[in-house]
């Protein structure tokens, strides 16, 4: 069943405007009307959040719009995921990404933007926060059966911590089990290439990179 325009349009607008209350109410109304939760995700939420990401990339939207759209999506997702479980359908997560700012670095705005964009595109994101030790990355990767591990480093002096984290995965024989990627102000493509890990200069690129790493052809 396709989503009627009378429901799809205001719901889409609620995500674009980051209106958490409207997203909450309209999602519940859509489910009460018997609409397919996966259809709502695929035809309303993903396109809306993709548009928010596009506007952010163009510099027309900023962090507040991105975060509020992410919050609206999170509220809606709780209802939709519950409905998916009840209906017995399979979850449509593209993969699990463990993200964190490396040990010694407390800057996490960039990492938070990447997390929001990845969630918007259907990834399960395990956000470990800032100042994350190498072993915490390893533990989270194993516990959450992650597909991708993303390391963020803003300061030049914290770049070695990213290197040490990658080394630990190798030392423990886990390097081939996960795809690793790096980003942040101190990281360059050349450096990432030397370490043999993925790199993206921005959040939109990180989404495309994650899609490639989990075997999906990027859009």
């Amino acid at each position: 069943m396709s989503i009627p325009e009378s429901i799809a349009k205001p719901l889409y607008d609620a995500f674009i405007e980051g209106d958490e209350d409207a997203a909450n109410e309209l999602t519940q109304q859509a489910l009460q009307a018997g609409l397919d939760p996966l259809e709502i995700i695929n035809t309303v939420i993903v396109p809306a959040l993709t548009e928010v990401g596009r506007l952010f990339q163009l510099g027309e939207f900023f962090l507040p719009e991105l975060m509020m759209a992410g919050e609206a999506a999170e509220v809606a997702s709780k209802h939709l995921e519950a409905a998916i479980i009840v209906s017995g359908q399979a979850s449509q997560k593209l993969g699990t990404v463990v993200l964190g700012t490396v040990e010694g670095d407390v800057h996490e705005i960039g990492k938070n933007i990447v997390a929001t964009m990845l969630r918007a595109h259907g990834f399960e994101v395990v956000d470990l926060g800032r100042n994350v030790s190498p072993s915490a990355f390893v533990d989270a990767a194993q516990e959450r059966k992650a597909h991708v591990i993303g390391l963020s480093s803003l300061m030049t002096t914290t770049r070695p911590a990213a290197q040490h984290t990658i080394q630990l995965f190798s030392e423990l024989g886990l390097r081939d089990q996960y795809s690793l990627m790096v980003g942040g102000g101190s990281v360059t493509e050349e450096w990432a290439s030397e370490l043999g890990v993925g790199y993206s200069p921005d959040a939109a690129g990180a989404v495309e990179l994650c899609k490639r790493l989990v075997g999906i052809n990027p859009s």
Partner: protein
């Protein structure tokens, strides 16, 4: 400020309202949006330096409301450190309006500057925000310290110690911090200005690292400064508060470093201006600082010379200059690098808006901090000269001139010209700029002169 204030702050940091950081951020975003509407604050791309006293005062009031409601978020305890409006205003009234930096004949008095103030700005320089290599760090610092119009030096940041990567919180951070402090001390001595104020050693990311930089003989002295940082936006932790305690212990100069993100939690220019005012108030009330380093940074470009960045600096400077006695320092952060005209035009725009709107000068942070050793003393000279040439301009005049200046770089914002590293634009033996780099500055000054910006030091004829 009462001497036991930190005891009270620690009590509040442990007993204030508990809130998860993300919830704090979302609440902040929503409140800033409302305050921008309530106070009728509007960005106008056609008036980058508004001469609107009413709006400047409203930006201040909105920032004050925001700080009183949200206080500082302590990441160590996940609690808000809150202050009453009366407390904020009382402490603000007692904040210093001038401070002596450095010692002996090299000491300077940095003052609160008014809007359109004819008093020259105090000039800080050094590779702050742009990483330097061990090899060229000494010459880069000397190139800044030897500039006659430069009053204070920032020691900058070197990422290695004897070739080994410096990791925060390790012995190498402490060794690197002491090494950088001694290199800065030696630079000011070689420049013949041994008492010059050194405003920080940036390699240290921890309080222990900052403390390691302090040494009366070979490092930072009480007449020098240490940065106490805020995490964006309105956030602190016990490590930062410990720096305040250390500075109390040694009687050192406390510098408030804030890096509000344009496009970050404050959103567009209007909201970023409001949260930037609140950030300054945090520095006054929580850190009891001597002066404030305002390092506005665009979320996407990583600079503050784009149109919204210029407007935000204009409004924050005017709001604080008109409503507080505090000492403002504008950190000019640019995308371009040495050996390019774009860098000079970016510096000129930043120097003019800051000078007219109540700031002292700091700069330049070049290449958005991306390119190592892409920083020299010549851009500091250029900022100081442009700042002096901007004295006497009204806000209206600055608002007309800056868009003309911006034509020299605005087309490169998305694809900046990172220029060349220090050894390619300076003779590393004599520590003098190459003729090519020097001539570029004369050429740009000549162009700026045509706009009506009269430099105190006439441009030398361009060499043939």
């Amino acid at each position: 400020m009462q001497s036991n204030w930190l005891v009270e702050i620690m009590k509040r940091a442990q007993s204030g309202p508990y809130i998860k950081e993300k919830e704090f951020e979302l609440a902040l975003i929503k409140r800033i949006r409302k305050l921008v509407k309530e106070y009728g604050i509007k960005y106008d791309a056609n008036t980058l330096v508004p001469a609107d006293d009413g709006m400047a005062d409203r930006v201040f009031q909105a920032g004050l409301d925001l700080f009183v409601e949200f206080g500082a978020y302590c990441q160590s305890t996940e609690r808000q450190i809150l202050f009453s409006r009366d407390e904020v205003l009382d402490i603000l009234a007692m904040a210093p309006s001038s401070v002596t930096l450095g010692t002996g004949k090299d000491a300077v008095v940095m003052r609160h500057r008014g809007v359109e103030d004819p008093t020259p700005a105090t000039m800080h320089s050094g590779p702050t925000g742009t990483p330097a290599s061990e090899k060229y760090h000494p010459q880069i610092l000397l190139s800044c310290a030897q500039e006659p119009l430069v009053d204070c030096l920032g020691a900058g940041s070197v990422a290695t110690y004897l070739g080994a990567d410096i990791i925060p919180g390790t012995p190498l951070e402490l060794l690197g911090a002491r090494r950088d402090a001694s290199v800065a001390r030696e630079a000011v001595r070689m420049a013949g200005r041994p008492g010059m104020h050194i405003n920080d050693v940036a390699v240290s990311l921890t309080c222990a690292g900052k403390m390691a930089a302090c040494d009366p003989d070979a490092g930072l002295r009480p007449s020098d400064g240490i940065l106490v940082s805020q995490m964006v936006e309105l956030k602190t932790d016990f490590d930062q508060l410990s720096r305040v305690a250390h500075l109390y212990n040694i009687g050192g100069i406390t510098v408030d470093l804030m890096t509000p993100l344009l496009g970050g939690l404050g959103g567009r220019a209007e909201g970023t201006a409001v949260v930037s005012v609140a950030d300054h108030l945090l520095g006054v009330v929580l850190y009891d600082v001597d002066y404030h380093m305002f390092s506005l940074t665009h979320l996407n470009y990583v600079n503050n010379t784009d149109p919204m960045g210029i407007w935000t600096q204009a409004m924050v400077g005017q709001a604080l200059s008109r409503n507080t006695p505090i000492i403002l320092l504008n950190d000019i952060y640019v995308l371009s690098g040495p050996g390019t005209t774009e860098l000079l035009y970016e510096c000129a725009a930043g120097a003019m808006v800051g000078t007219v709107c109540g700031f002292n000068m700091q700069g330049a942070g070049t290449t958005g901090g991306f390119n190592r050793d892409h920083t020299t003393g010549l851009e500091a000279r250029f900022i100081a000269e442009t700042s002096r040439a901007s004295l006497g301009f009204s806000r209206e005049e600055a608002s007309e001139l800056i868009p003309e200046i911006m034509k020299g770089y605005i087309h490169t914002l998305s694809n900046p010209n990172r220029g060349r590293p220090f050894p390619e634009v300076y003779d590393v033996e004599t520590v003098q700029p190459t003729a090519e780099w020097l001539d570029m500055t004369y050429s740009v000054k000549e162009e700026l002169s045509k706009l009506g910006i009269n430099f105190q030091y006439a441009p030398r004829p361009i060499s043939s």
